[in-house]
Symmetry: D2
Subunit: 343 residues, 4 copies
C-alpha cells in the first residue's frame, strides 16, 4: 500500500500518517524526492486501511499494490487447475463442450437433447431446474422434478451434469443430483451461497456477474476456494454495456486475462453472451480461438417453443454444424476435441 | 405485443404467425399498409412469447407494448403508497432522513451515533450487522450481536431501525429486530430472498442493483408485492458506469422516473451513490430538490477508524451541517422536515 | 510516477529501471521494505513514460501520481474563474439561466422564445444554427441564416447569445455572432477544434462527452486554456450508460467534483441530460441544489412541432413554472437569481 | 412507425393523432383490438416525427420500424462490398492483415517496420502522422513530415498505406499520400469530416466510437456513402465499459452483427481493443474466428521506446509468431491469407 500525500501537505501530516501506521504494527517508508511525498507501507495491511488513511489530513490518495485475491491467483499457484468430472478434464489441453437446454421442460426434451448433443461431441450436459427470472410472472423452473429428469438424461447418455443452484437452502439438493454446481451471474456476489457451495466437494462453475470487474469475479471465486473447495471453474457470459443490439456484451478478452491472472479454468457461454442464436456460432469459435478451456451452448429441440431463452438456443442441426467448425478451430490453436465415433 | 415482419416476408410467413397465435388462444390483427407488415397481438400474452415469435421465419422483431410490472405501477394504483413505521410516514409530504453507521462495531458506537443523528433531525436509524463484502478477507459484520446493539440504540432513542438481510435463512431473525428490512443492491435479483421478505409483513427497502435498469428494479419490487407485502420502499444508490472518480454514478433521474411509473416511495442514498464523504452533502441536497421521499446518510463518530465505508461517512458535525441545509431545500420544494426542538 | 515491480522481479531488473530513468535525466528512489520493490521517479516525467516502463521486464504496474491537467486545476489556480459576458457573471454567486430552442427554425420562433425566456428570468439565450445529427437524413440546421436570426433575438432582448460550432473552419463565423461559443459533447475530443476556439478570445462552453471521464473532460479544457483562452465554462449534459429509460444518465455528481478539482465554472444541461421534458424541472432543481453555477434549458414555443429535440423542450409556461421554483432552491443554497421585474 | 397510445387515452386523442398524420401527408391505420390502441403510420416518415408525436396527449410511445440507415444496409445491397486497394481486396474471402506502428517517429522506424510486417505476411501498412491525444502535452504526431516517411515505406515495400485524418482541412493532404483514409474513433461523429471524406474517392476506414452503438456507427458510415463514396470499411476497436483491466472492451460480436446488417467489410483492431500487447494475439485470433474480413495490428521495432501506445504494440518477433497462428485459424474458418514466400 502506498500513501500519496497532497502537494501542499505538511511535515506534521506526514508524521501523523507514520504514527498511525506504527500504532497498527506497520511501518512507513517515506520517499520525499518525488513530485510529492509518498509513503510506502511496510507490513501486512487490511483492506479497509485504504479508506481510513484516505480520510487523514494531507492524504491525496492511497494505492493498494497487492492484489486482493490470493488463492485464485497464478502467483499463489503457477500451474493450471484441472477439474476432473468423470473422465472429462476441464482446464487442460482438451476443449470441453457443455450443451443442453436453458430450462428443463419434459423428460423427453432433456433426454432427446442429451442424446443429440452427445452424438455431436458434447461431453457435459447442462439444463436448469431452478431458473432465475427477472419477472415473478415468468417460468421459474420445475424444481426437483426437473433435477430427476436431468438424472434420466445422464443415465441414458453417461454425460456428467451441470445445473444451477439459486439459494443456500438448495445446495444439498443440487449437490445430490449435479456433477458440477453452477452459480449464475446474478448470484456472483451472493456471498452466503458462495460460502455454502465452497463447503461442498463438488466442482463449482462460477459465472461472471453482468457488472462484475474481473477482480471482483476472482474475489468471488476466492470465497469458494477459502472454504476449501479448489474445484472452481470460471465462466464468462457477457457484461452489461450501453449496446442494446446484443443482450450482453460478450467480453472475450476476459479469457486471456483470466489465464494470466489465475490458474482456474475458464469457459465461455456465447448463448447468454450474445442472446441471439445466429451470433452463437461465430462467438463460440472466437472463444475457442481466444484460448477458452471450453464453451457452453444452449441447445433445444424446438427453440421457438422453448419455455425460456429460445432466442439464444441452437437447434440440434445448428449445434452439429457448429461442432464441425469447433473441431477445426480448436485444432488450429492446439486444443483437442473429443470427436464422437459416429459423427 | 406487436410483431414486425421483415420487408421481404411472404404471405405464407404472415399466415403462419396468425395460425400460431390462434393455437395459443390469441388472435392477430394485421396492418399491411405500413412500411412492412405488422401484426398486433390480441389477448393475454406470456413474456416468453416474444422470444418464440422472433424465431419464426419472416419475423424482424417483436415489441411488447405492456409494461411487465403490474402491482408496482402507477397504472395499477394511482395514489402514492405511504409506508408507516411508528410515527414516521415514508412517501407522503414529509421528508424522511435515515442515518447511522455503515456497519455496527460496538454498542457505544451505535448508541452515540443514534443519539447524534436524532438530535440533528434523523427519524430512522440505520446500521448493518450482516455486511456483504467483495472479498472474503474483509469485515463481514457482527451478526446477531450487532442486531442486539442496534436494538439498544433504538431503545435509547426511540428511532425505528432499518438493517440489511443477506440471505433467506436470516429473514426471520432480521424481522425480529428490524422495523424496516433492507435488501441490498447485490441482492436486488436474489429472487428467493425477495419471495421471503415478501412473505413477512414488515416494510422492505429495496435498493437498486448497480447494473439494474429501472424496469428490472420495479420487477424485483413486483416479487415482494406479489407475495402480499405492499410496504415496499425503493432506494437509488448509484449505478456502475465507466466513470471511476466516484464509486458509482448516482442516478438522480431515477427519482422523478419512479414517481412517474410507480406509486412506491423512493429514497436516495448519496453515501453509496458517490462513495466520498465530501460529495454526500451536495448530492443529498440534489436528491431532495429532485423530489426524493427521503435520504439515507452514513454517519460515524470517527470515519477514519470505521471498519467499513469510512470514506463515505459523515462525522456528527458534518451531518448536522447537512441537516441545516436539507431543511431549507426541502422547504423550497414543499416537503416537510421534522426539526428537533433542541437544534 | 511510481514503478511497482512484480513480486518475483530480480535485482537486475530493478537496476535496469534505475538505469533507464538515469538515461532520461530522471532518478529513481527505491523502497524495498514494502510488499514488493517500489521505485519513486524523481524529476519531470512525460505521459508516455508510463507505457514504456510498463513494458520493461519485472515491472508490474506504473502509477502516475500527478494529475495530467494543470491550467484547469484548482492546485494551479485556487480562486474561482468568473467568466463575464456583458453584465452576466458565470462562476460567482449568481445562478445563470441559459434558455432557448435546440435548433433555430424561424425568426419568429427565436425572437418569441428569447422574449419569453427573458421575461421568465433567463439571462443568456441559446439556439443552434449548426446541428450535429446522428443521421445524414436529419435536420442539420440553418447555418449562417440561423445565426442572423439569433442576432435579431439578441437585438430585441439584449440577452447575450450562446451557439454551437461544429468544425474548425466555422470558428471565425461563429465568433462573429456568438457571445459564448459552445463546443458540443460529440466534439469534446475534436482537438483541432479545441485548439481553434482556444485561439479566439470569446468565452467557450465545453460540454462533457457522453463517454468522457471527468479527467478527460478537464484535459480537453486544458487544450483551450493552453492556447491562452482562459474563459472556459464546463457543462455536464449526461453520460451514456446501460439505462435506456433516459437518453443519457445525468451525472450530477460531476458538479461538486469539478468544483473540487477545478476553478472553472460548471453549468448543467438537464434537457440533454435526461431527454424527456417532464424530467427537466426536477433535474434542473437538483443541479442547482448540487451547486451548479447555472443551468441550460431547452424551450420551444411548440415542442410537438420542433424540428429537433422537441421531446426534451419545455413550453414557455413550463419554463416559467420551473423558474419560480429555481428561485426558491437557489436561495436555499445561497445563490442569487436575477428576477425580472415583471414576473 | 407505430404509435402506441396509453391505456387511458381517449377517442379524441386518437383522432388528433390521425389528423396530425393526415396534415403531414401520411395516414394512420388503427388497430384497436390489441391491449391498447395502436396506430400504424403509413407513408414516408421523417426521423423527428417520433419526438413530435410522443409529445401529443394520450401517446405512450412511438416505435420506428424502419432502420434509419439505408445505403449501408444489407436490405439495400445484399451482396458484400469488396474494397480494392492495389491488388488487395477487403471484404471477400481473403483475410487482410494491416500492420505498422501507432505513430510515425523516424524514416528508419517506419521503413524497417514496413519491411518486417511485409515479410511476416501483412498486406497493408499503417502509421499515424496526425495523432489524437487526450492531453495537449502529449505527442501529437509529425504531420506532413510523417506522411512523407510513410510514403518512403510504401515505396520500399509496395504495401498500400492507411493513415488517419483528424480534421476536414487536412482531407486533401491525407488523400494525396494515403491509399486508405482512416477516421478514428473520436471522430466517428465528426459529421463535417465524414462529409468531407465522403467527397473523396479514396477508400475510408471508419472506426467505431468508444461509446457508439452499432446503429450509430452505421449511420456515420451512411454520411460517407451519402456523399457518393461507396468504399467504406468498418473497424471495431473496443467500446468503453466499467471494466478497467483493459483499455476498452473489445466487442467482437460486432463482427457477425455487421455482417448481418450491412454489406460493408469489417476489420478488427485488437491493439486498441485491448490496450495490452499480450492480449493482442489471442484477440486477433478470436476476431478471425468470428469472421472478420481482416485485422489491424500495431507493431513497433522497440515498443518500450515508442512515442505512443507502446503498451499495445507487438515486436517484430511477436507479430511473426501471431501471423503463423492467424494462417491456421483463418484456414479453419475458410478464409485465405496471402503467405509470403520466405516465411
Amino acid at each position: 500500500m502506498i500513501v500519496i500525500m497532497s502537494r501542499d501537505s505538511s511535515e506534521k501530516e506526514v508524521n501523523e500518517i507514520l504514527e498511525r501506521l506504527k500504532g497498527l504494527g506497520l511501518s512507513g517508508h517515506l520517499s520525499s524526492g518525488v513530485e510529492r511525498a509518498v509513503i510506502g507501507v511496510v507490513g501486512k495491511v487490511y483492506p479497509e486501511l485504504k479508506d481510513n488513511l484516505e480520510l487523514m489530513p494531507g492524504v491525496e490518495e492511497v494505492i493498494p499494490i497487492s492484489r486482493p485475491y490470493k488463492l485464485s491467483s497464478r502467483e499463489f499457484q503457477p500451474r493450471d487447475t484441472i477439474v476432473k468430472v468423470g473422465d472429462v478434464s476441464i482446464g487442460g489441453d482438451e476443449l470441453v463442450v457443455i450443451a443442453g437446454p436453458c430450462a428443463v421442460e419434459t423428460t423427453e426434451q432433456v433426454v432427446s437433447t442429451a442424446k443429440a448433443v452427445k452424438a455431436a461431441g458434447a461431453t457435459v450436459f447442462r439444463g436448469g431446474a431452478f431458473k432465475p427470472s427477472t419477472s415473478p410472472y415468468q417460468f421459474r423452473g420445475l424444481g426437483e422434478d426437473g433435477l430427476k429428469m436431468l438424472s434420466e438424461a445422464r443415465a441414458e447418455t453417461g454425460l456428467p451434469l451441470i445445473t444451477e443452484v439459486l439459494t443456500p437452502g438448495d445446495v444439498d439438493l443440487i449437490a445430490k443430483y449435479a456433477d458440477i454446481i453452477q452459480v449464475g451471474a446474478r448470484n456472483m456476489q451472493n456471498f452466503i451461497l458462495l460460502d455454502e457451495v465452497g463447503r461442498t466437494r463438488k466442482p463449482v462453475m462460477l459465472k461472471r456477474g453482468i457488472s462484475a470487474t474481473i477482480q471482483e469475479w476472482l474475489l468471488s471465486a476466492e470465497y469458494i476456494l477459502a472454504q476449501g473447495n479448489r474445484q472452481v471453474i470460471l465462466c464468462e457470459r457477457g457484461i452489461r454495456t450501453f449496446e442494446t443490439y446484443t443482450r450482453n456484451t460478450f467480453d472475450l478478452s476476459a479469457i486471456p486475462i483470466i489465464e494470466k491472472l489465475s490458474h482456474l479454468p475458464i469457459i465461455a457461454d456465447p448463448s447468454h453472451g450474445t442472446g441471439k442464436w445466429y451470433l452463437v456460432p461465430p462467438m463460440a469459435l472466437a472463444a475457442v480461438a481466444a484460448g477458452a478451456d471450453g464453451v457452453m451452448i444452449e441447445v433445444h429441440p424446438n427453440p421457438d417453443m422453448a419455455l425460456k431463452d429460445g432466442a439464444q438456443s441452437l437447434t440440434f442441426e445448428n449445434f452439429q454444424g457448429l461442432m464441425s467448425k469447433i473441431v477445426l478451430v480448436a485444432a488450429a490453436v492446439g486444443k483437442k476435441v473429443r470427436v464422437p465415433s459416429k459423427v
